[in-house]
């Protein structure tokens, strides 16, 4: 029971991070119907920018930790968003009216180039960060000494994710930008005829996805304390799997899928074998897709002749 609880906590934390990245995939897919293959790299860039800003602030010293972290988060979100925006300008906008595969390939190219850019400018070694947020709550103690621990960092991750999710859902539901996004999702031509600036809306979608990925990168730097230029690939695949699992195009679905993937990974590595945790995540994906081809919360695809 205690072990189960601990894995649950770990899984939820991991799942929250996957969920944040998955939203970027699902939003871009929703609005332009394409996989943003470079999104994993955007998350990696967010993590690097966070680490660099933390180190920069550390060397300048002073101020309270909370304020400093908040500044870092904002900086990372802004700069990473800029990367998201540039990505859309370079790899997607020129290909808006081209075959879908063309955009997929240019996104894969972008992902390779961005990964290599970070490798070249930052070096291939692991970058580490001493834990900044320390301390934890002991929830339960088993007789043999095993304690269920909920660290402040984990609380921070889950709370941040919940707050962002709430803010985000509200934005999609209530603001004019959210309306424009939903309009573009349904019919881009019609939306533009009705005065929605489609280019701007798509750009902003990429920007928002990148900002959330930056938050995920920021949290990962603080949580694990180790990053390298390659983390974007696996996290990207997992998050995309999460988005598909939840039903791509659906934002609650992305969150649900992220949590499920996180939980599957945590429980699989807790109870079975840590080596095959990636296989488990994909196997569940395949099983879900066989029985629900459009994901858990996805709308069934209507076949039109």
């Amino acid at each position: 029971m205690e072990y189960f609880l601990q894995q649950l906590i770990n899984g939820l934390t991991l799942g929250a991070i996957y969920g944040l990245i998955a939203i970027g995939y699902t939003m871009v897919y929703g609005i332009i119907g394409m996989i943003n293959f470079a999104h994993g790299e955007i998350y990696m860039i967010g993590a690097f920018i966070s680490l660099i800003s933390i180190m920069l602030l550390e060397s300048l010293a002073g101020g309270s930790v909370i304020v400093a972290l908040f500044v870092v988060l904002i900086v990372a979100m802004i700069l990473t968003s800029l990367y998201g925006w540039a990505l859309e300008r370079i790899a997607y906008r020129p290909l808006r009216s081209s075959p879908r595969l063309a955009a997929l390939i240019s996104a894969i190219g972008m992902s390779i180039a961005l990964g290599n850019y970070i490798q070249l400018t930052q070096g291939a070694r692991n970058k580490t960060l001493q834990p900044i947020v320390q301390g934890n709550l002991e929830l339960m103690k088993r007789d043999d000494g095993f304690t269920v621990v909920l660290s402040y960092m984990q609380i921070g991750i889950i709370v941040t994710t919940i707050v962002l999710m709430a803010a985000f859902s509200l934005m999609i539901a209530k603001t004019s930008l959210g309306r424009a996004q939903r309009a573009c999702e349904q019919d881009r031509t019609m939306a533009s005829l009705l005065g929605v600036n489609v280019d701007r809306t798509i750009s902003l979608t990429f920007v928002m996805g990148a900002a959330l990925a930056a938050v995920a990168g920021f949290l990962v730097v603080l949580y694990y304390g180790v990053i390298d230029f390659y983390i974007g690939f696996l996290a990207g695949i997992k998050a995309f799997t999460a988005a598909v699992l939840g039903g791509i195009g659906s934002i609650p679905g992305a969150m649900l899928g992220g949590l499920l993937i996180g939980l599957i990974e945590a429980f699989w590595s807790g109870y079975f074998s840590i080596e095959y945790k990636d296989v488990a995540a994909f196997a569940i994906l395949v099983l879900v897709l066989i029985f629900r081809p459009t994901g858990l919360l996805g709308r069934p695809e209507v076949e039109k002749v």
Binding site: I52, M55, A86, L95, A102, L120, Q122, F282, V286
Partner: protein, 490 residues
């Protein structure tokens, strides 16, 4: 990095060649680009997380950022000038930027390399714009249409010439060891590209995990050879069979899915196979890989200087002096033949009912179903046949390297093979050849830029796609179509 700065400029081509922007507007646009790229570059070019003696600290490189932003500003101005239709200034500017990259004492090799290539890109771009504009004004046709017609006529000649060239390549004076090695690599990718072309180009199924079948082929040969001492020639068909069998197993549950769902599941399968190869240590030796894979023999003749007792070696049998080149040349012809078989098979099967069914399925699945084509079996056959060729290529890879490890079968490989198919123009056999030469051969030749290879590779994929979104040689038209009013069949 060139980005299209102005928000309203949706297309790359100018709508009218003669509208001149005032210099102020040009500077404003270029300035904006420079500011944005400054913000993009500062975190990564400006700072480096360096590591010395186990301690991690930040290294600042601010001059580099300023130089880079300045170069981007210049480059952007020249790109705008190209768009506005001038030629001389951008070409000169591109040359200057390249020269700066080559000779100026910039403290970062990274910026030097990027500046050099960026200058070249500007020159090429200017040349193309002018070429396209001339072409348009003289023939009144869109650039590329005349090219496509001419290409279709020249194709048989081009193909034969290429095959002849490939056959005599090892005999040519420049056919030294390194060239042949690169040619073998390129041919392996061509074969993989042709194999994947069946799945993606003909049947229209987006497969992001093709490398799984390549891995299955390589490992089946490696394991059969090391556990049962099977020879290459026995294993080659077996490897193809296994890979095809895997194609069916993997394909069966997922072919109901469409488009991107299929893509992610195939990607997942590709990763699963790699993770299994990595972790099933008792069978595959895990991350260490399988080594000592036997080399192929030429009808029982080994390529060894000193053959085992009682056997004869290739050079002894033919009375030649021993040369290590023999085996390389033999491998070269082997992959050439395998690749040509793939090509021949694909070209023939396109005209058979099954090939027609693939193309029809790609165009409209519902129509196919109502015409009595079984989509599941048709897709499965495409999957299995594509996988089979991947397996052949894998067995060849294993025998050529003498060593396989899961390292060689990452997603990047799948992405590269898919990029070859899509860049070449989906469904086009010749396109695959050209794309493989451009993507694999060129970077191999410029080994000096080793570190920048993947950067150039990725950027090249983006550039080629935005330049020709349908691929270098697009051939999406079905192999056969109903005769039009002009009585033209293609």
């Amino acid at each position: 990095m060139p980005s299209t700065g102005n928000g309203t400029q949706a297309s790359i081509l100018p709508d009218s060649g003669h509208r001149r922007l005032p210099p102020g507007a040009i500077f404003k646009e270029a300035g904006l680009t420079a500011v944005v790229s400054l913000a993009l570059l500062v975190p990564f070019v400006g700072f480096k997380i360096a590591n010395r003696g186990g301690e991690q600290f930040l290294e600042t490189r601010l001059p580099e950022v300023l130089i880079a932003a300045g170069l981007i500003f210049l480059g952007r101005i020249f790109l705008i000038l190209v768009r506005e239709g001038s030629l001389a200034l951008p070409v000169a500017g591109g040359a200057v930027i390249s020269a700066i990259g080559l000779f100026a004492p910039i403290p970062s090799a990274f910026i030097q390399a990027v500046a050099f290539t960026a200058g070249l890109v500007i020159i090429v771009r200017a040349a193309f714009m002018v070429f396209a504009a001339r072409r348009r004004s003289s023939t009144g046709r869109e650039f590329g249409s005349g090219f496509a017609d001419g290409y279709r006529k020249a194709l048989p000649w081009l193909a034969s010439a290429l095959i002849v060239f490939a056959v005599i390549l090892p005999l040519m004076p420049f056919g030294e060891r390194r060239t042949i090695d690169i040619a073998i690599l390129v041919l392996t990718y061509i074969m993989l590209g042709w194999g994947l072309n069946i799945v993606v180009g003909l049947a229209g199924l987006l497969d992001l995990g093709y490398v799984a079948f390549y891995a299955v082929g390589a490992y089946s040969y490696a394991l059969l050879a090391s556990y049962f001492d099977f020879s290459f020639w026995v294993c080659l068909p077996l490897a193809g069979l296994f890979a095809g069998f895997f194609g069916i197993i993997l394909g069966f549950p997922v072919l109901r899915l469409r488009g991107d769902y299929l893509a992610i599941v195939t990607l997942g399968f590709g990763e699963m196979i790699r993770v299994i190869l990595l972790n099933w240590v008792s069978l595959t030796k895990g991350p260490d890989g399988v080594s000592g894979i036997p080399r192929p023999s030429f009808f029982g003749l080994e390529f060894k200087r000193y053959p085992a007792e009682g056997t004869e070696s290739f050079h002894q049998f033919f009375g030649l002096d021993y040369s290590s080149l023999h085996r390389v040349v033999f491998l070269y012809y082997l992959i050439l033949i395998l690749a040509l078989i793939t090509n021949f098979f694909t070209r023939r099967i396109r005209t058979l009912p099954i090939g027609r069914a693939w193309e029809a399925l790609r165009e409209d699945e519902i129509a196919c179903r109502s015409l009595g084509i079984n989509p599941r079996n048709t897709k499965l056959s495409a999957f299995a046949i594509g996988a089979m060729f991947g397996g052949f290529a894998g067995a060849f890879f294993a025998t050529r390297q003498g060593f396989v490890s899961p390292e060689s079968f990452t997603f990047l490989e799948s992405a590269i093979i898919l990029a070859i198919v899509v860049l070449g123009g989906m469904g086009s056999q010749m396109g695959v050849v050209i794309a493989a030469v451009v993507l694999i051969g060129l970077p191999e030749y410029i080994r000096d830029l080793q570190e920048y290879r993947m950067l150039a590779f990725g950027a090249g994929m983006v550039l080629i796609m935005s330049w020709r979104p349908r691929g270098l040689l697009s051939q999406r038209d079905p192999t056969i179509s109903l005769a039009r009013a002009e009585g033209k069949t293609s």
